[in-house]
Symmetry: C2
């Protein structure tokens, strides 16, 4: 038995949408709103709200520019976000490898 306590999971990260956002941003340098939406498989409103939550936590940086004449939202993970994400993954292991 390697583990007998489960570690806490950062509630800012432990939501399907936000976990998805961070998983993607941890591997991809930066991503657009639409890329995130399609890859995660969610709605505009849900993604918008969850991005704001991650931004408030300082886990992602959101850049608003224009692509031609259309608004464009680009997101990247911050250093703080990456650290938090890595810590989340580490704690998650206590669940996945319980008793292993």
């Amino acid at each position: 038995m390697n583990s007998n306590k489960l570690l806490p999971l950062d509630p800012v990260i432990h939501s399907r949408i936000r976990l998805g956002i961070l998983s993607i941003l941890a591997s991809v340098e930066e991503a657009t709103f639409n890329y995130l939406k399609e890859t995660i498989g969610t709605t505009d409103g849900n993604l918008s709200a969850n991005l704001m939550k991650l931004e408030e936590a300082g886990y992602v940086a959101i850049k608003k520019t224009f692509s031609g004449r259309k608004p464009k939202t680009t997101c990247r993970i911050t250093k703080k976000g990456l650290t938090a994400f890595q810590n989340y993954l580490q704690n998650l292991e206590s669940y996945l490898k319980f008793n292993k």
Copy 2:
């Protein structure tokens, strides 16, 4: 790039408490209320409510007996619960191994 779509995560399982319950029960044959409570690190009320949710979903079976003269709640994962849990873990990999 191995993956470019994130798979859905069963909402009955994707909660810290319920994920903890299933992680433990998947490895331990059966567990008492208190063992779960201490291992997960939660309160009585929270554990009680989440166990009921898992029971309603048919993911865990709850047995109520007496240990001497005191009530005792013992939980085990059902076949349906194990299948759902394994599926959850498989889908979770699409997050953990994104772009890997």
